[in-house]
């Protein structure tokens, strides 16, 4: 039994979600190999070789894999998968894009966004926006699994010394090409891996008022998120959305400001360790899941909170 973990990266650095995915592989047991598919991604391969518990790193360095286009990378992974009992990838937008394509090429069902490993063939995963947890058993010869990173504590990114081995690519399928990318650059931590997340909802009243959240976030080293209502109202960017249809987060501290607590939003943050809700509506459902609730006008409470963190 051996597991192939597909590394998440941007050709320059290994993304943290890879470490959580290796943790899920460890829970399954057996040898763990990591595949780095990319372009000029040697630094990523070296970082992957240092991950604790990884015994081999496969590198497919090819222009066809530079942007992890599913049409190109899926045949590569499906080919390599023949030597493994499990193939795991983080349930990032990359993993969600290419992994089902891999599963279909292998003629097996994918097991999406697992949150627990019960045994090498049995896993738990949320369904209905996290309102139910299904335990599923796979009889597939190769189990293709996407992993919800926040559900697994990361393994150490240092200490390992895996061998690095090049693998030949399967070429460019020629059906898709990369045109461009707009990535929001921020000095704040990434939402899904931040220790503290501060999110604003429709109660923030305007995009301008989000500055209050940014100020508090900078004091706490936190990431800033938003509810779908706030995103739809144009207060915050799409990629800041926390919820069933946005990012799933589980930080040590989640501060929900002016967020009512729709089921959709709760699905994205209810596994946070400590939840704080600040809302002026005492009936807001968010208070039912909050460890600490504060009924207050947030325009007054936020500056006071920021000063209090000093």
């Amino acid at each position: 039994m051996a597991t192939l973990v597909i590394a998440e990266h941007d050709n320059a650095a290994l993304a943290a979600a890879t470490l959580n995915t290796v943790a899920a592989a460890q829970a399954i047991g057996g040898d763990i190999h990591v595949l780095v598919a990319g372009q000029q991604c040697a630094a990523v391969a070296e970082a992957a070789a240092k991950i604790a518990g990884v015994s081999k790193v496969l590198v497919a360095d090819d222009a066809a894999y530079g942007h992890l286009l599913a049409e190109n990378v899926a045949p590569l992974i499906a080919g390599l998968a023949q030597g493994y009992s499990h193939v795991l990838a983080p349930a990032s937008t990359n993993g969600k894009n290419y992994l089902p394509r891999v599963a279909a090429l292998l003629d097996v069902e994918q097991i999406s966004e697992i949150v627990a490993v019960e045994s090498p063939d049995t896993f738990k995963r949320p369904i209905y926006a996290g309102n139910a947890i299904a335990t599923v058993q796979s009889s597939a010869p190769i189990k293709v699994i996407s992993v919800r990173a926040t559900a697994f504590d990361p393994v150490a990114g240092e200490g390992g010394s895996a061998a690095i081995e090049g693998v030949s690519g399967t070429g460019d399928a020629g059906t898709s090409s990369f045109v461009g990318e707009e990535i929001a650059r921020s000095d704040r931590p990434e939402l899904t891996s931040a220790r503290v997340v501060i999110s604003g909802g429709r109660g923030m009243q305007s995009g301008d008022n989000f500055k209050l959240l940014y100020a508090l976030a900078d004091k706490l080293g936190a990431a800033v998120g938003a509810s779908r209502a706030a995103v739809d109202a144009g207060f915050a960017a799409n990629d800041m959305q926390v919820g069933q249809t946005g990012k799933i987060v589980a930080p040590d501290l989640y501060v929900a400001v002016g967020i009512s607590g729709a089921i959709q939003h709760l699905a994205g943050m209810k596994d946070s360790k400590v939840i704080v809700a600040i809302n002026k509506d005492p009936e807001a459902p968010i208070f039912q899941v909050a460890d600490y609730g504060l009924e207050a006008d947030l325009l007054e409470a936020l500056p006071e909170l920021e000063r209090g963190m000093g």
Binding site: R101, Y128, N131, T175, F178, V179, D291
Partner: protein
């Protein structure tokens, strides 16, 4: 940007699911969730797929829209909704079994082989199983290019330019046709069906086929052992002031 000489045929797939406003309950015997007397609707991401197809037709880019659903006889209701919104005809692949994404993708592949559309639009995920697989699997089985989690779809000569919502921002790809697009939330805002269009939809063709007619095996490698309610979070305490909140976070929760 040049227009295609011949407008394309679009296939949309849609799923009948529990309405997104319903808070589902797990059955006491842990065999699944209780769907008795629960409101069912078209999956929200599939509504966006229908809307996008209709807009492409309104812009003269699409010539015909065929709506397909894999599901029980009752899914005719959702197909009629798609017809009222602007689809030209519908196909129900009727089954009472709850099929996995791979089986659904294989059935859709059989329909694609028959219909030969230039573009297939599906929702990115169904809000019941939350799998987010079917579109990508259909792309694998057909060998087509895929533009998943789309927030913008444009025609670029004989190709399709798709802007995708990815972690941290947006990515734009160019896809050869035929292609598969899966919809994200912000692709469009679906319209409501008007009463005259609902009446007209009753006369539009709706064909029913069985999986066996399509020669597809729907066997699955995945078995649901049980379905449980998630661990409930208990409401905590209300604090009276910002100062008290800061104090609790520091000394009690120890998170700051």
């Amino acid at each position: 940007m040049t227009e295609r000489e011949t407008p394309m045929k679009i296939l949309i797939s849609l799923k009948r699911v529990v309405d997104y406003n319903v808070k589902v309950r797990v059955k006491p015997d842990q065999s699944g969730v209780d769907l008795a007397n629960v409101k069912m609707s078209m999956n929200p991401f599939c509504e966006i797929a229908v809307e996008e197809a209709v807009r492409l037709k309104e812009r003269g880019i699409a010539s015909e829209i065929v709506a397909v659903s894999v599901g029980p006889a009752a899914a005719q209701e959702q197909l009629r909704t798609a017809l009222a919104l602007g689809a030209d005809r519908a196909i129900l692949v009727e089954t009472d079994e709850e099929l996995g994404s791979l089986a659904v993708a294989k059935l859709l592949k059989a329909v694609v082989d028959k219909e030969q559309p230039q573009l297939v639009i599906t929702g990115k995920q169904a809000i019941d199983s939350d799998n987010n697989q079917t579109g990508q699997m259909l792309a694998a089985l057909t060998g087509y290019a895929q533009g998943t989690f789309a927030s913008k779809v444009e025609q670029a000569g004989d190709k399709l330019k798709v802007t995708r919502e990815i972690d941290g921002g947006l990515q734009t790809l160019e896809l050869s046709l035929p292609a598969i697009v899966t919809t994200d939330l912000r692709l469009n805002e679906p319209r409501y069906a008007s009463l005259p269009n609902i009446m007209k939809a009753k006369k539009k063709p709706l064909e029913t086929v069985k999986p066996a007619d399509l020669g597809v095996s729907v066997a699955s490698t995945l078995k649901v052992l049980k379905v449980e309610a998630p661990a409930e979070r208990q409401a905590g305490i209300k604090v009276g002031s910002v100062a008290e909140l800061v104090e609790k976070l520091k000394s009690e929760a120890k998170v700051i």
